[in-house]
């Protein structure tokens, strides 16, 4: 489609109980959202293995978002604290690799925060459009 603006691919890991609910609320509230988002639902942010994030990047994601319940609200007591520890290491690693920091982001979003979710996706999409396609994207993937 010549002439159309490049649309990044953004993978968001959402936990079943909060941020996935947030995405749902965003839809029900009819907040405008770009079509860049690919949601992967997990039961809890504690399920997100750094490997999943690598896989997303290596398969061609331009940005990866790790999301879950607010700290203290995890439905499995402390899954998001575990996610946070992993995320810190992951973030440092992605920096050292030389990927732009905007390409990996963490956000805690509750099921009622539909607007926050929509704004977050819009902001990230705008940032990534500025940066262009991820340097880890395989040949032949848009």
């Amino acid at each position: 489609m010549a002439g159309t603006e490049w649309e990044p691919k953004i993978v968001a890991f959402c936990c079943n109980w909060c941020s996935y609910g947030g995405a749902d609320t965003a839809g029900m509230g009819r907040f405008q959202q770009p079509s860049s988002l690919r949601i992967i639902r997990v039961m809890c942010s504690g399920r997100i293995d750094p490997m999943h994030v690598f896989n997303a990047f290596l398969e061609g994601a331009d940005a990866v978002l790790v999301t879950g319940c607010h700290l203290g609200d995890c439905h499995y007591v402390n899954g998001n604290y575990k996610a946070q520890v992993r995320y810190q290491f992951l973030e440092e690693m992605v920096r050292e690799l030389g990927l732009e920091p905007e390409r990996l982001q963490l956000n805690w979003i509750s099921a009622s925060e539909g607007e926050k979710f929509a704004n977050f996706i819009r902001d990230v999409t705008a940032q990534i459009k500025q940066l262009g396609p991820s340097p880890l994207k395989p040949e032949g993937v848009n």
Partner: protein, 383 residues
């Protein structure tokens, strides 16, 4: 009876063992006494093949232990994995000891049953590089070498015709020889994480060259020494102030030098160039898996994330195997250099892994393999 924290000078009572030992043969005698008196079922020793090759073996023969003295500077093995699942005593450079402690944190080693006699270490050399260095810098046929020694910053080789040639280590390293890169910036020279910390720094005067400086680090170290003294294998005396001061001084000087080397070897790569650099380095990888096999802190075993989720058919820009390992080791890499040594396509694996691990460990003020107090961060236990 010795006490925890004691700093001693000691040597083997058997003159052969004392002579063959790098310093006073104390390490060999302590290991042999532990076996003789049944404290352990076996001892890890290096079985010497020649100047450049030795194989770690686990023996239950006291004579074999007694015959194993001497330091092999051109044998950069890591002995960690030999301690896994056994009741043994072993000698160990700081990196060997750190490996054992990281294994213990992951339930690979039972420290209660493992006695570790630590050796000070200023660094070891790669055997292939050492041979090349002998030809180019020393103009000696590597096969003619019968012994090697480090004295006053010089590396001395002795040939079978009784000749000696000394070149300063600084000069060798400027020319690209000498110690392995990771040793040059290693931050642990005295193995305070072992049960005993032994070395020749601080052995002065008439004892120079024929006694070992030994610090008792914990209860197990005390048991080892008491046992060896009681068995009549060693004699010890307290080290005086001057000895202790010299040991500290040399250690500080070495650490300072290490800092300088770190600046030179881990030079900053610009933000925009780093990814390309890593992609290019790992592009040479032939997927042999040897770096994982030799890694002393890896406890994953056969089925691990780094291999199970990695497939060459994916044709990714960067290897999933290395991505997983880079993250996995950022809290636990001890910089022992085994991965670089083994790599068949000469990827500077250790240097690359240190680029990730160094800032992560520094930020958390954490030095893996130094104690059991702090858990591996990635397996953080929540209260």
């Amino acid at each position: 009876m010795v006490g925890i924290g004691d700093k001693l000078l000691g040597y083997a009572t058997n003159p052969d063992v004392r002579n063959r030992g790098a310093s006073g043969g104390l390490v060999t005698a302590v290991l042999a006494a532990a076996l003789e008196k049944g404290m352990v079922e076996g001892v890890v020793v290096l079985k010497r093949i020649d100047e450049y090759e030795a194989i770690p073996v686990i023996t239950d023969d006291v004579q074999e232990v007694l015959a194993s003295g001497g330091s092999m500077h051109a044998v950069p093995v890591n002995l960690t994995k030999h301690a896994v699942g056994r009741k043994i005593a072993m000698p160990g450079k700081p990196c060997d000891v750190r490996g054992v402690i990281e294994q213990a944190k992951r339930n690979g080693v039972d420290l209660e049953n493992t006695y570790i006699v630590g050796l000070n270490c200023g660094g070891s050399m790669h055997p292939v590089v050492t041979r090349e260095m002998l030809i180019r810098m020393y103009e000696i046929d590597p096969e003619d070498v019968v012994g090697e020694e480090i004295e006053k910053g010089k590396l001395i080789f002795k040939t079978k015709d009784g000749e000696e040639k000394a070149i300063s280590i600084d000069e060798l390293e400027e020319a690209g020889y000498g110690r392995r890169e990771n040793c040059r910036y290693c931050t642990i020279k005295i193995p305070t994480n072992a049960d005993l910390a032994c070395g020749n720094w601080g052995v002065i005067g008439e004892l120079a060259g024929s006694a070992t400086f030994c610090e008792v680090m914990n209860e197990k170290g005390k048991r080892l020494l008491d046992n060896a003294i009681e068995a009549g294998f060693i004699e010890v005396q307290p080290a005086d102030e001057k000895s202790i001061a010299i040991r500290n001084k040399v250690n500080s000087a070495m650490l300072k030098l290490g800092d300088e080397w770190k600046g030179r070897l881990l030079t900053e790569i610009h933000d925009q160039e780093r990814l390309t650099y890593y992609i290019e380095q790992f592009a040479d990888c032939i997927d042999c898996g040897a770096c994982r096999e030799v890694c002393p802190v890896c406890t994953c075993g056969e089925d691990s994330k780094c291999t199970m989720f990695h497939s060459l058919a994916d044709n990714y820009k960067m290897s999933m195997y290395h991505m997983v390992r880079l993250l996995h080791l950022s809290d636990s890499c001890i910089g022992c250099g085994q991965c670089s040594d083994i790599c068949p396509v000469d990827i500077p694996v250790t240097t690359i892994f240190r680029r990730f691990a160094d800032p992560a460990q520094k930020k958390r003020d954490y030095s893996p393999g130094m104690d059991l107090q702090r858990p591996p961060f990635l397996e953080l236990m929540l209260k």
